[in-house]
């Protein structure tokens, strides 16, 4: 059964339902391949034996009405999983075993999914290359020593390498869409309030959203259907009527108005990305959509505003790591000394940097100049989108200003690393849904993505537009299994 790993998620679901293959066969196939792929360092924690047992239980008493019947999935290690170690890529949580399940992973379990492991990520999801993880760099299966993007880098790597048929990540400023773009896969950040944040290790609470990462748009619709739910354990969860994303998926985009923001044509963007963008526009026009130039005048201020809002929220969220109730503790001469040493030794450099930025912008005398100012800019950015959506149904942009870069290339310059998220961050600030789909390659053969941004709670629309582009592009990932001897 060596070809199981080549099947799409929705095909695996169909075949299990038709009893052509068993959950055990599928689970074993992905575990076998994961075991041969340690060089990628995609996993932080393996749950293989337990998963095989769960698969056996499923086969003995199958429920084919589930959306993920006996399907093995590895997930980002930012989701708390009951009795399975959850580290958030940090030393400070190296030995943390949650006593509860995040709502998103609970939804997966309730639909018959089986967790085969926890995937590497940047420490507390702070990073764009997976290089801030305490558990080491992750390799991009596209090419050796290439970053898989971040912060959901273990997720994108495992997905592209077919160690898991689909996965979930979290996206605070691009952490699902950028790694998807870097690995030739699909990633969707839902509207803020769609997926519960309960049990997700918090980074920036007003921006964080969980979302699916998949091989194709159809799988993405299926996964979104599973994980999106109203949850009274998350006070910002929104109680709206969720769509039947998979059933209603269709490629008909006739009459749809798609906006092209001129501010996304940034200096120094490779020609290939501009060409890819034009290719996307052409496909939309050929499929009966209309391309309309739009204006998002405050785009350039999104990233600076983000680097105030996100660290401010992070500094507050990460105050809980004090070495008392859980996590790493360092010895100190007194309580304060213990706190300071614990946090100094337990957090990595990028996390410390962001806590300190956040602490500074919230500190007495600076709050108005930085934090309040950033929240006002956030309003301007949201207004830009509101204005644009009076004229268009969705917006098309590139996902990232470049393709994947080499490991180590940007680690010494935080600002150049931050610039990676220039096309994704505004969407989090405005709370909108957006999907990245693979759309081409650069001259080195590295994947490039296009991003479709929607109105709030209009996930079906962006899925349909992405589906229509996907059908015409026929993207193929060039992966030669270089990491397997």
């Amino acid at each position: 059964m060596s070809n199981i790993i080549d099947l799409k998620l929705f095909e695996l679901v169909e075949k299990i339902k038709k009893k052509e293959i068993s959950s055990q066969e599928v689970t074993k196939s992905f575990i076998d391949r994961s075991q041969k792929s340690k060089k990628l360092n995609s996993y932080i924690t393996e749950n293989f034996e337990n998963a095989l047992q769960k698969a056996k239980q499923f086969d003995e008493k199958p429920d084919f009405n589930k959306k993920l019947p006996g399907i093995p999935l590895a997930v980002k290690d930012l989701f708390c999983t009951k009795n399975i170690r959850t580290t958030a890529g940090s030393k400070i949580l190296e030995n943390f075993i949650p006593t509860y399940e995040s709502t998103v992973t609970k939804n997966i379990l309730n639909e018959g999914g089986i967790i085969i492991g926890k995937l590497n990520c940047d420490e507390f999801a702070m990073g764009s290359s997976n290089e801030t993880s305490f558990f080491g760099n992750v390799q991009n299966p596209i090419s050796e020593n290439l970053v898989p993007g971040g912060s959901s880098g273990g997720s994108s790597s495992a997905l592209a390498a077919k160690l898991t048929p689909a996965t979930i990540g979290t996206d605070t400023g691009g952490s699902i869409r950028q790694p998807a773009s870097f690995t030739g896969t699909v990633g969707l950040k839902p509207t803020y309030g769609s997926c519960s944040r309960y049990g997700i290790v918090a980074f920036a609470s007003s921006l964080d959203q969980a979302g699916p990462m998949t091989q194709n748009v159809k799988d993405c619709a299926l996964m979104l259907e599973v994980i999106s739910s109203y949850d009274n354990k998350d006070s910002t969860s929104v109680d709206f009527k969720r769509g039947q994303y998979l059933k209603d998926l269709n490629e008909n985009i006739k009459g749809k108005k798609i906006g092209i923001p001129k501010q996304y044509r940034v200096d120094g963007m490779p020609k290939e990305i501009d060409e890819l963008w034009k290719k996307g526009m052409k496909i939309i026009e050929n499929n009966g959509g209309e391309i309309i130039e739009i204006n998002l005048p405050n785009t350039n201020y999104a990233l600076p505003a983000y680097y105030i809002v996100a660290p401010a929220e992070a500094s507050s969220n990460l105050a809980r790591y004090d070495g008392v109730k859980y996590g790493f503790r360092s010895k100190g001469e007194n309580l304060i000394d213990m706190y300071e040493k614990t946090r100094s030794e337990g957090f990595g450099d990028e996390v410390k940097r962001r806590i300190m930025i956040g602490t500074y912008v919230l500190s007495s005398g600076y709050y108005d100049a930085y934090y309040l100012k950033a929240q006002k800019v956030r309003r301007l950015i949201k207004n830009d989108f509101d204005e644009a959506y009076k004229k268009v149904d969705a917006i098309l942009t590139p996902s990232t200003p470049s393709s994947a870069f080499k490991i180590g290339e940007k680690t010494n310059d935080p600002v150049s690393m931050y610039l990676n998220d220039i096309f994704t961050v505004p969407i989090n600030l405005a709370g909108l849904p957006a999907i990245s789909i693979p759309a081409g390659h650069d001259k080195s053969g590295y994947p490039l993505g296009l991003q479709v941004i929607g109105k709030a709670f209009d996930e079906q629309n962006i899925l349909n537009i992405a589906y229509s582009i996907e059908k015409n592009i026929n993207f193929k990932n060039n992966i030669n299994d270089w990491w397997i001897n």
């Binding site: 309030g193 680097y307 996590g327 929240q375």
Partner: protein, 95 residues
């Protein structure tokens, strides 16, 4: 505005993160380049703009405050770096 070593030390104190002197210099350089980037916001006139504090901007829903997890003290304490079976233990705070 520049973030000098004294400011770095002050923020590190507020953040409860100890920083040794040789790291403080590098951190000050990093923070300065980040704040230079952030200061682009000064170009914008936001005098009359309402801050956006939450994207949801709806009234928070209320629910009953009911206990759902019971008898998990042992499990919770298992994650504690130091405990005496009933309590979390910290360095002595009262003489």
């Amino acid at each position: 505005m520049t973030i000098d070593l004294k400011t770095v030390k002050h923020i590190s104190k507020l953040s409860r993160i100890s920083i040794d002197d040789n790291k403080a210099k590098k951190l000050s350089d990093d923070l300065n380049s980040i704040f230079k980037f952030i200061e682009k916001l000064e170009e914008l006139d936001t005098e009359k703009i309402e801050p956006l504090t939450s994207i949801a901007e709806t009234n928070l829903k209320l629910r009953k405050d009911e206990i759902e997890s019971k008898n998990i003290r042992e499990d919770i304490l298992k994650n504690s770096p130091e405990d005496n079976k009933d309590f979390f233990v910290v360095p002595k705070v009262v003489e």
